[in-house]
């Protein structure tokens, strides 16, 4: 680089750092430690302060989001040229699979309509209340979150579920007045009560800060295979039931044939989100206790809600390392952290 050839002594005449550095630096480190302590002790209060500051910066990100999108698209074009053959093969295979599903879906849709009329059921999930634009990526190596350009003033509330036409994206973690932070389902703090589409068995989709979250608390005797669809179960009330979360992409078994890890490929391409739709949650910021007549969504669930506790009890250790208190029943609480 050019930099290596630059004379490095031209600024030698600059005075040495102010003596205040000697006192100020340790002082600032102590201040920083106190702030960390405050954040750990009072996370909600600090989150509110953060949301207010982020609100102020939202207009800047709003302006920059479009050019960033354009740059991303250019980079992506280059990348997809390289991967185009592989992608084409994948799409062909997927097309064949989807054709079969399309026929099945038509049949099931007709059947579903008839059954719904029989039991006089309302729509399974609520209509999106608003859509929001992604204006910043506030994640990193240790978190997965996005900044949205809508806040409390627009009707956003903490806990709202976010989705696209493909499926669930995550939920609103904090809401400022004009912006809000969206916790992606891949974040390590994300726990979404879910079920296997095939069998209806309950489980939890647990984020791990990687691109593929893990399925936890699924009983060992329940068969699961790569390609199985996973949907939200509606337990906990944050997410309406029946929204697509993703498909099982990897099942790891140990020497004795016990499953030790199940990975999920999210339905939504979380790397290329432009807009998301926000759905009203059934319960917002309420205590954890879920009763059978808690709301329309839980009434629609296949079984009484307290079965989720049994699912957690039935879990025989797989994928449950040191997180025993993260069972589906207290998901409402964990999800609100």
């Amino acid at each position: 680089m050019n930099a290596s050839r630059r004379p490095t002594t031209s600024v030698m005449s600059v005075a040495k750092p102010a003596p205040s550095l000697r006192w100020l630096a340790p002082g600032l480190i102590v201040t920083g430690l106190m702030l960390i302590g405050l954040d750990l002790a009072r996370p909600n209060a600090v989150a509110q302060v953060k949301a207010t500051v982020v609100d102020g910066m939202a207009p800047v990100f709003s302006v920059l989001a479009d050019p960033a999108q354009a740059v991303g698209n250019v980079l992506d074009t280059g990348y997809s040229m390289i991967a185009i053959y592989q992608e084409n093969q994948q799409l062909k295979a997927e097309n064949d699979r989807l054709r079969a599903w399309y026929i099945a879906a038509q049949r099931l849709s007709a059947e579903n309509r008839e059954l719904q009329q029989l039991v006089k059921l309302d729509a399974v999930w609520a209509d999106p209340v608003l859509s929001a634009r992604v204006i910043a990526d506030t994640g990193g190596a240790f978190a997965r979150s996005l900044l949205l350009d809508r806040g409390v003033n627009d009707g956003v509330m903490r806990g709202m579920a976010a989705m696209t036409a493909q499926g669930v994206v995550g939920r609103v973690q904090t809401a400022g007045e004009r912006s809000s932070r969206l916790l992606l389902l891949t974040d390590i703090n994300s726990r979404i009560p879910a079920m296997l589409e095939k069998t209806g068995d309950r489980l939890v989709v647990a984020g791990n800060n990687q691109s593929k979250p893990e399925l936890q608390y699924l009983r060992q005797e329940v068969p699961v295979a790569v390609g199985d669809m996973v949907l939200t179960s509606g337990v906990g009330g944050i997410f309406p039931a029946g929204l697509p979360l993703g498909t099982v992409t990897e099942v790891v078994v140990d020497g004795e044939g016990r499953r030790i890890r199940i990975a999920l490929q999210p339905s939504v391409d979380l790397a290329r989100l432009g807009y998301v739709s926000l759905l009203p949650s059934v319960r917002l910021d309420e205590p954890v206790a879920v009763t059978a007549n808690d709301g329309p969504i839980n009434q629609l669930a296949n079984e009484p809600v307290n079965e989720s506790a049994q699912a957690a009890d039935a879990d025989d250790g797989a994928g449950d390392t040191g997180r025993a208190d993260d069972g589906p029943t207290n998901d409402g609480a964990n999800a609100d952290e």
Binding site: R5, R6, T8, M12, I29, G32, L33, D39, D137
Partner: protein
């Protein structure tokens, strides 16, 4: 740059001088913004190279007087507010880079550029390990290391480019503002 269009005789006024001396802080703010732009691409997916850290390191070597430690701290707080780490973590980490480097800057100025580069690599690796340890402690489980490593590699790879920008900027502005401290 707009600045090169102006004649050096009329430039800079007091206002201009003030502007020049805020340049390091502006580069930090721009690096913070750039780190959070939503690039919708698999190429940059979740990769967030330590841009701010690079600028803090370089300004601590070349122009610590234009970048007061309090502004470094504020930049760190801004990163904490935008990112999803406890408030204060990045602020402390930036101070831990700025402080010793600003004190020992003469060593870095004496040595050739590769020394600067290797030192940066060592410091940024140490900082990322500290951050990883802290986050793992908070979550009480080992945080994934894959992204930490890729961020490190990209950050160290980008360092010469950022160093070139800082050194160029420093030269130009020192010429424009010879009385600068």
């Amino acid at each position: 740059m707009a600045l090169t269009l102006m004649s050096e005789a009329s430039w800079p006024g007091n206002m201009g001088r003030w502007l020049i001396r805020t340049l390091p802080f502006l580069t930090l703010l721009m690096a913070v913004l750039a780190s959070h732009l939503p690039l919708p691409t698999v190429v940059a997916q979740n990769t967030m190279p330590p841009l701010v850290l690079s600028f803090v390191f370089l300004w601590a070597v070349y122009r610590p007087n234009w970048l007061p430690i309090s502004l470094v701290f504020i930049t760190g707080l801004l990163m904490d507010v935008l990112g999803s780490v406890p408030l204060g973590l990045n602020a402390i980490l930036l101070i831990l880079v700025y402080w010793p480097v600003a004190i020992q800057r003469r060593v870095f100025l004496r040595e050739p550029f590769p020394f600067l580069w290797v030192s940066f690599a060592a410091i940024v690796a140490l900082v990322e390990v500290l951050r990883w340890l802290f986050v793992s402690l908070i979550f009480w489980s080992f945080a994934p290391v894959g992204l930490v490593l890729s961020n490190l590699v990209v950050g160290i790879g980008l360092f010469p480019l950022i160093a070139w920008l800082v050194i160029q900027g420093n030269h130009r502005f020192t010429r424009l503002d010879p009385e600068a401290p």
